[in-house]
C-alpha cells in the first residue's frame, strides 16, 4: 500500500515538473484570468489524483491530464455563465494580465476564436504538441486539427494586425 502511494506520488511530482507550466498557460489562454486559470489547474490535478486508476496507459498521461483540464475549463465556463449578470461583467472587467496592452489584445483575439479552433491553436502553436497528439485529445481526425489550426491562426493574424494598425493610427 505504502509502495503504491509512493509510486503514485513519484508519478505526480514528475508530471507536475513536466506539464504544470504548460497547463497553466493553456488554462490562462482559455479563461483569460490568472486566478481562474490557477483554480482550473489545481482542480485538474486533484481530479487526476483521485482518478489515476482510470489511466490505463502511462504513455497517455499528458493527453489524459489535458483532457481533464479541458473538462475543468468547460465546467468553470458553465459556472460563470450561471452567475448573475453584474457579477459576470465584473469578472470580465477584471480579466487582464497586467498593463500589457498587447497581451490583452492577444487574449481578446483568442477569445474571438471558436472553441475548436482555440484549443487546436493553443495546443499546437503555443505548447508545441503534434497535430496527431491534439487530434487524439480532441477526438477528431488529424486533418480536422490541421484545418482548425490553419483557420484559427489566420483569424488571429487578421484580428491582431487590425488591432496593431488601429493602435498605430491612434497614437
Amino acid at each position: 500500500m505504502d509502495q503504491q502511494l509512493h509510486e503514485r506520488r513519484r508519478i505526480f511530482e514528475s508530471a507536475i515538473e513536466a506539464y504544470a507550466d504548460s497547463m497553466f498557460r493553456v488554462a490562462f489562454r482559455l479563461s483569460g484570468d490568472r486566478e481562474l486559470a490557477l483554480e482550473i489547474v489545481q482542480e485538474t490535478w486533484l481530479g487526476a489524483w483521485k482518478n489515476i486508476g482510470q489511466l490505463r496507459n502511462r504513455d497517455q498521461l499528458k493527453s489524459w491530464l489535458f483532457g481533464i483540464l479541458r473538462n475543468q475549463y468547460l465546467k468553470s465556463v458553465d459556472k460563470l455563465t450561471r452567475q448573475p449578470k453584474l457579477e459576470l461583467i465584473d469578472n470580465m472587467v477584471s480579466r487582464s494580465d497586467g498593463p500589457n496592452e498587447m497581451q490583452q489584445a492577444v487574449q481578446q483575439a483568442i477569445g474571438e476564436l471558436d472553441d475548436d479552433q482555440r484549443m487546436s491553436v493553443l495546443l499546437v502553436s503555443m505548447e508545441g504538441w503534434s497535430t496527431q497528439e491534439a487530434a487524439d485529445l480532441l477526438g477528431v481526425p488529424q486533418g480536422t486539427v490541421l484545418s482548425r489550426l490553419h483557420r484559427g491562426r489566420q483569424r488571429l493574424k487578421e484580428i491582431l494586425s487590425r488591432q496593431l494598425e488601429f493602435d498605430t493610427y491612434s497614437e
Binding site: 506520488r9 507536475i16 515538473e17 507550466d21 489545481q42 490535478w45 497581451q103 492577444v106 491553436v121 503555443m126
Partner: protein
C-alpha cells in the same frame, strides 16, 4: 503579422513562480486526507458511521429518563429498607412480624439487583454516546480544516500555513481516535519537514515532544 510574431505573442504567459510547489502541497494534502480516511475505515471505532448517523437527541433523552427512573426507584427502595418502620424497630414485636419483614426483604432484593443492572447498562450507553459525540466532533473539525486548506490553496493565500495546520489537526484527531501513535509520529515529522516555520509545524513539534 507573420507566423513567428504570432507564436511569440501566444507564448508570452508566465505561470506563478511557486506553481510547482503549490501543486505538490495540494497533492500531499490530498494524499494525507486519503490516508486518514483509510485509517478511520480500518478502525473498529467506525468513524464513518458516527458521522452519517450522529447520536440524536431523542435517544439521549430516553437514556436520561431511564436513568432518572432507576435512581428514583433505588432511592425509594433504600428508604423502604432502612426507614425506622414500627414493625422492625419496636423491641416488643413478635417473631412473626420479623419473619414477615425478612420475607419482604427477600422479595425486594431481586428487584434491586435488576435496577442496579439497568443503571449500569444506562451508564454504559451514555458513555458510548459520549464517545460517538467526541468522534463526530473530531471528524467535523477535520473536514472543516481540510475545506479551509483547500479553499486557501485555490485562493493562493497562506497555503503552507493552512496546509500545515490542517495536517496537524488531522494528526491530533488520530491521537484522540486512539489509533497507533507511530502513525501520528511519522506524519507529524512530515509536517515539520514540509512546512517548517509555520504554526502547524510548531504545534506538531509540541505534540511530538509529548509523544516521546
Amino acid at each position: 503579422m507573420n507566423d513567428r510574431q504570432l507564436d511569440k505573442l501566444l507564448r508570452e504567459v508566465s505561470p506563478p513562480d511557486d506553481l510547482h510547489n503549490q501543486l505538490k502541497q495540494l497533492i500531499a494534502h490530498q494524499e494525507w486526507s486519503e490516508a486518514i480516511t483509510a485509517a478511520q475505515a480500518d478502525t473498529s471505532l467506525d468513524l464513518a458511521t458516527s458521522v452519517q448517523a450522529p447520536p440524536n437527541r431523542k435517544s439521549l433523552r430516553w437514556v436520561w429518563a431511564v436513568a432518572t427512573v432507576v435512581v428514583a426507584m433505588l432511592t425509594g427502595g433504600l428508604w423502604w429498607l432502612f426507614n425506622d418502620k414500627p414493625a422492625i424497630s419496636r423491641p416488643d414485636q413478635s417473631g412473626t412480624m420479623i419473619a414477615e419483614s425478612d420475607e419482604q426483604l427477600q422479595t425486594v432484593a431481586p428487584e434491586l439487583a435488576a435496577l442496579e443492572q439497568q443503571k449500569a447498562e444506562s451508564e454504559a450507553e451514555l458513555a458510548e454516546l459520549e464517545k460517538q459525540l467526541t468522534l463526530h466532533y473530531i471528524e467535523l473539525r477535520q473536514v472543516r480544516w481540510a475545506e479551509v486548506a483547500k479553499q486557501s490553496l485555490s485562493k493562493n493565500t497562506r497555503a503552507s500555513e493552512l496546509a500545515a495546520l490542517s495536517l496537524f489537526t488531522a494528526a491530533e484527531a488520530v491521537v484522540l481516535s486512539g489509533l497507533p501513535l507511530e502513525l501520528v509520529a511519522d506524519n507529524l515529522k512530515l509536517v515539520l519537514e514540509r512546512y517548517p516555520n509555520t504554526e502547524g509545524a510548531a504545534r506538531a513539534a509540541e505534540m511530538l515532544a509529548g509523544l516521546n
